[in-house]
Symmetry: C3
Subunit: 134 residues, 3 copies
Amino acid sequence: MKVIPIHTDQREQILDITAPIRNLVAQGAFSSGVLFLFCPHTTAAITINENADPDVKRDILYHLKKAIPQSPDFKHFEDNADAHIKSVLTGFSLVLIVENGKIQLGRWQGIYFCEFDGPKDREVWVKAVPDQGV
Amino acid sequence: MKVIPIHTDQREQILDITAPIRNLVAQGAFSSGVLFLFCPHTTAAITINENADPDVKRDILYHLKKAIPQSPDFKHFEDNADAHIKSVLTGFSLVLIVENGKIQLGRWQGIYFCEFDGPKDREVWVKAVPDQGV
Amino acid sequence: MKVIPIHTDQREQILDITAPIRNLVAQGAFSSGVLFLFCPHTTAAITINENADPDVKRDILYHLKKAIPQSPDFKHFEDNADAHIKSVLTGFSLVLIVENGKIQLGRWQGIYFCEFDGPKDREVWVKAVPDQGV
């Protein structure tokens, strides 16, 4: 397992982590297989989305904040229940396919770390399973 | 990696892709292992749900449209921010277990491609890892 | 594939299944690899979240119930469309990394079964792929 360290500097923030993950695969020197990403936090998540217009990231955060506002109706004592819920809905694990030594992503796809309760020091854990596949 | 081509003919549509995925596994001729599905798009997703009453698909799309309407509050210039957000919440990768040469699904489960910005030509990418497992 | 039986006793309930999954890994006697969890239902899901304050579970269920209420606008004849939608958004599969014979979870993470249409007898399916990885 490899660890990608991440530092966030806002409460809610989406960071492109495609480059460090591509680098890990390049260092791993395996031509094909599967790559697993895991977010070891409960108020952050990982997802995939458009790597072109940065307004997509803004719109995702805007919607989540509006749909799941911080609220006195939540009972969790740390006042970050909204961040836990956003993380559950976005997800904690991703599976990526590796072929010809490269992560296979769609043309417009990037890999994103989603911070919902920053700023914090965070990590993404990465496990590679070189190809046994067909 | 195998590619399943998909054609959607509406803006929002949920298509059952269980049969082509079962066929891939049958062709792959491995008795047990894990199957990974990946959606290489940013305005479409893959999920699992009920394969009996088609109203379940209708209700999922109905809810998502109501909860995440197209809106002038979004800034993404292509006017499909809603589709990006629906995709993030639904998810881009799935893991399926294969035993005795067959994908293991619950009694009422089917595998679904979710189009949120069609009509478009789409793909689902499939990677098999034959069994090393216990 | 191993099966973890689960019994829920409320319509909506989040149950900690970290212990039985840790036990399966201990019995499997492999030191590193990947563990796949699959929920074979269409009105239940699996996720990860905080294992400390039980109010986090309460707040997740509270939000989902408020955001996706049972409604006459849904057409699914079983009157549990809300449960299908909550399951799609929460997710049906999880990937966990195993190192040194233990599931690697973040400090505050537990693994949770989410019931949205109980009480019911349920299952979580578990597949291990011992390490071929880097």
